[in-house]
């Protein structure tokens, strides 16, 4: 009988950290025992306090000073900060799920390689654009392995891109591009990110283009629908919005991600896709620990 929950700590109290907190509050396997940032007055900290969650403004030091406080750590700070944090967390032996584009740990897209991730000490969640489009890029390559070039364009609303994301725009772009190549095996790739300030805010949209001559459309369509269903299991708002269609020598698929509206309103699907993916990894890890304890 599983009644015990695995304790998790979140460092970084911005958009991503706060959205994660909401999702963990709903988890049957996880409980948040620490919500830590640098600013005691941050909006995120205040919200967490109201929810009755233990908070700290000492960021990583809160875990250093009290290592037993949690078993899993989510890092939602910045790529730069994670370089320091990763070393400390490794020494402390914490299973670390990194939501910055730091690329220190191995990249994980749950629908592709979650089981592999559980044996590591640091797992990198790539980027929101990567979580949304890499599985589709891989599906296209699985069906048409001769494809030479894949490009993904992530358009997100300005309101959902916090200061951390903005300060890491270069790592974000590079990491998304590299993830497409690594996971799909396509020889050449490009990632584009567009911030759109329109009001009301736009839903997160991802367009995947593949340059090819003879797409196996039936096969790709079937595979893409399978992937959509699998991702929906951990990201409920994930949806194929258009395609696959073939025009001008390019295959086009569009993905829309509607958020659950936990921390930011539902247009912020870009938050949900990466926080849901991270929670999925943590829950799988928790299942593994709990099973070993039985």
């Amino acid at each position: 009988m599983i009644s015990q929950k695995i304790k998790v700590g979140i460092i970084g109290t911005g958009n991503i950290g706060t959205d994660l907190l909401y999702k963990i509050q709903r988890s049957e396997l996880l409980e948040c025992s620490l919500f830590a940032g640098r600013d005691a007055e941050s909006q995120g900290i205040k919200r967490a306090e109201k929810m009755g969650v233990h908070t700290s403004h000492q960021s990583i030091d809160a875990i250093k000073n009290e290592p037993t406080i949690c078993d899993i750590v989510f890092d939602a700070t910045s790529a730069k900060a994670h370089i320091q944090n990763a070393k400390i967390l490794k020494e402390l032996g914490k299973f670390t799920i990194d939501l910055t584009p730091s690329r220190i740990g191995k990249m994980c897209i749950p629908v592709i390689n979650v089981s592999e991730a559980l044996d590591l000490d640091n797992v990198n969640m790539v980027t929101c654009g990567g979580q949304a489009s890499v599985p589709i890029a891989k599906a296209i390559m699985d069906c048409n392995p001769e494809t030479e070039y894949i490009e993904v364009v992530a358009s997100i609303s300005s309101k959902s891109a916090g200061p951390g994301t903005r300060l890491n725009i270069d790592e974000y772009t590079q990491t998304t591009k590299d993830a497409i190549k690594v996971f799909s095996g396509v020889p050449s790739a490009k990632a584009i990110i567009i911030l759109n300030p329109a009001e009301p805010p736009i839903l997160m949209n991802n367009t995947i283009y593949a340059k090819m001559k003879e797409p196996n459309l039936e096969k790709i369509k079937a595979r893409v629908l399978e992937i959509e269903a699998e991702i929906k299991q951990y990201v409920p708002g994930y949806k194929i919005a258009l395609g696959p269609i073939y025009e001008n020598g390019r295959l086009v698929v569009m993905i829309e991600v509607t958020g659950r509206g936990d921390y930011l309103p539902s247009y912020s699907g870009n938050l949900d896709i990466i926080t849901c993916a991270a929670v999925k990894v943590a829950e799988e890890y928790a299942k593994k620990i709990l099973k070993n304890h039985e």
């Binding site: 070039y149 364009v153 903005r166 300060l167 772009t173 300030p197 367009t207 283009y209 001008n248």
Partner: protein
């Protein structure tokens, strides 16, 4: 009046007009002939800058590296510049290689309300010892107060100047005067203007910008640029001369470059077409024109309706993927019962 310097974007903005197919030989001829004209900088590359050759915006005939190398050899007196949009290029794959080739100056552009994404790039270029300028695109979408706030961020990151881009050619004279004056009065660094000609105002708006304190003018020879084109550099040089404010640019030289090189690159002269007027009115980036025309033909809808709808969606530069969606929505509106047929016939 302070001295005005010219950034020449002919080979960059003009790239949009010919679907990014400018030949290396033309870049060489252009740079060799313009090097003595007295311009500050010649900007070279894909219309959306470094790393922007893509299915989304259009694939370049030649790589950034090829274009920059040939331009570098041909420019001695004039600085070689590049344009870069955060979210398209990256430091590792695009900016670092461009700096190695010997680029002198980088313009880092963002949508007018998103200056903070320029930080990594402005700081990187500044630390590399190159000239760096910030660019606020689609400036018509923000108030002058907001523009100042965003321009100040770029100034703080290390930009030597901030250029407002009227990307949609949506400016009225009052808008230009108010925004430029406000920035020029409140920024420590130089202020610049880059016009588009959708409403036939590019040259006059550029002159107005100068009169209100702009000291950088970003323009193109023969107005060669996206959509209706840009401020025609030669015409502005002549106009400044008549106004008793000589620009220091050799008029015959820039006219020659236009007649001998640019006229050969252009497939057709920039025109204030009906569609340019609509895009200026809707406030949508002119660079979308070719894509809008293609989608209108593909889906048999009115290109003007596509622009108006894009304007309502407030799309920003780089969102070319929204064109197909809008076209498909218009189809749906037109023949709601036949939508499924349309979509299936595509696949």
């Amino acid at each position: 009046m302070n001295k005005v310097i010219f950034f020449d974007s002919t080979l960059r903005d003009g790239s949009h007009a010919v679907r990014h197919q400018i030949e290396l030989e033309s870049i060489k001829d252009y740079c060799e002939l313009i090097d003595n004209a007295g311009l500050h900088t010649v900007i070279v590359g894909h219309g959306n800058g470094l790393g922007a050759s893509s299915l989304q915006v259009g694939l370049s005939a030649h790589t950034d590296e090829e274009m920059l190398k040939i331009a570098r050899k041909s420019l001695q007196k004039t600085k070689l510049g590049v344009f870069m949009l955060p979210g398209f290029g990256t430091i590792k794959d695009d900016l670092e290689p461009a700096i190695k080739i010997g680029v002198d100056l980088v313009c880092v552009g963002t949508h007018c309300t998103e200056a903070d994404v320029s930080r990594q790039y402005i700081e990187y270029v500044s630390e590399s010892g190159l000239d760096v300028y910030g660019v606020l695109m689609m400036y018509h979408r923000a108030s002058k107060e907001k523009l100042l706030e965003e321009a100040q961020k770029m100034q703080d990151y290390g930009a030597m100047g901030v250029i407002l881009m009227d990307s949609a050619g949506a400016s009225t004279p009052q808008m230009v005067s108010a925004a430029i004056k406000y920035l020029a009065d409140n920024l420590k660094v130089a202020v610049g203007f880059h016009a588009h000609n959708n409403l036939s105002m590019a040259v006059s708006n550029s002159l107005l910008a100068i009169e209100n304190g702009a000291t950088i003018i970003d323009a193109t020879i023969k107005g060669f640029g996206a959509g209706a084109g840009n401020c025609q550099l030669e015409a502005l040089v002549a106009l400044l001369e008549k106004c008793g404010k000589p620009s220091g640019v050799n008029l015959y030289n820039v006219l020659d470059v236009g007649d001998k090189v640019v006229s050969k690159i252009m497939t057709k002269p920039p025109e204030v077409s009906s569609l340019s007027i609509i895009s200026g009115m809707a406030g949508v980036f002119s660079g979308f024109s070719n894509h809008v025309i293609a989608a209108a033909e593909r889906f048999d809808v009115d290109a003007r309706d596509i622009f108006i709808e894009l304007g309502k969606l407030k799309v920003v530069g780089g969102q070319e993927d929204s064109i197909v969606r809008v076209a498909m929505k218009l189809v749906a509106r037109k023949r709601s019962d036949e939508v499924s047929y349309q979509i299936e016939s595509l696949s």
